[in-house]
């Protein structure tokens, strides 16, 4: 039974990949990094990228589960100094 993973991109990363989100069906266990590579073969994952699984910060090698929402975004920047 394939797993369904929802993917979201924010800010400059959203503009870079040209989409705000994706869906991916995974036949085997994937890490966050695997998800990126499957969806963005021609865009290398930026060094300083941040990742969240289900709205909590996660590591690039964290495993993704069925129904998870995975988000990729650049370092956060508030609106003031």
């Amino acid at each position: 039974m394939p797993m369904l993973i929802k993917v979201r991109y924010f800010a400059s990363l959203r503009e870079k990949v040209g989409r705000s989100g994706d869906s991916i069906e995974a036949a085997q266990i994937m890490t966050v990094q695997d998800v990126w590579q499957a969806l963005n073969q021609d865009v290398p994952l930026p060094d300083n990228v941040l990742v969240a699984i289900n709205m909590d910060y996660a590591a690039l090698d964290a495993k993704v589960r069925d129904g998870d929402e995975v988000a990729f975004f650049p370092p956060v920047t508030g609106g003031w100094r």
Partner: protein, 148 residues
Amino acid sequence: MSIKICSEDFDPFQAIQDHQQAKSAMVGKYGATSIFIGTMRDFNNDRSVQGMTLEYYPGMTERQLEEIVRHAQQQWCLIETLVVHRVGDISPNTPIVLVAVWSVHRGDAFDACRDIMEALKSRAPFWKKERLLSQQSHWVESNSDGYS
């Protein structure tokens, strides 16, 4: 604890007073209120900034702000905390962020207010895109450190 994300301009002083009125159990209990307001300036690194857009991650942003405030509540003795953050298109001279902390003693309010601001700056998912007078716009890639 109250966490608010606003897509319209907000009045920080009204927000504080509304919160004090809503939480009537606070009356007479707090001796110290420490408040920080972050406001959009009209200049930045010598280039004239016309405005900016603040993107966020609905759901995650609120959750992270709650986590930050909860962590502060565990570290210091706080009576109430209010965080309001603006998102969307923002004009210069407009409030962007408000943190208000009420406590019995001033040390707790000062420390917690500052800690929340620093944590918010590094962990809350907001991304800033500046629009310059030249009509160019660009994503701002890093924050300055408030302690330096």
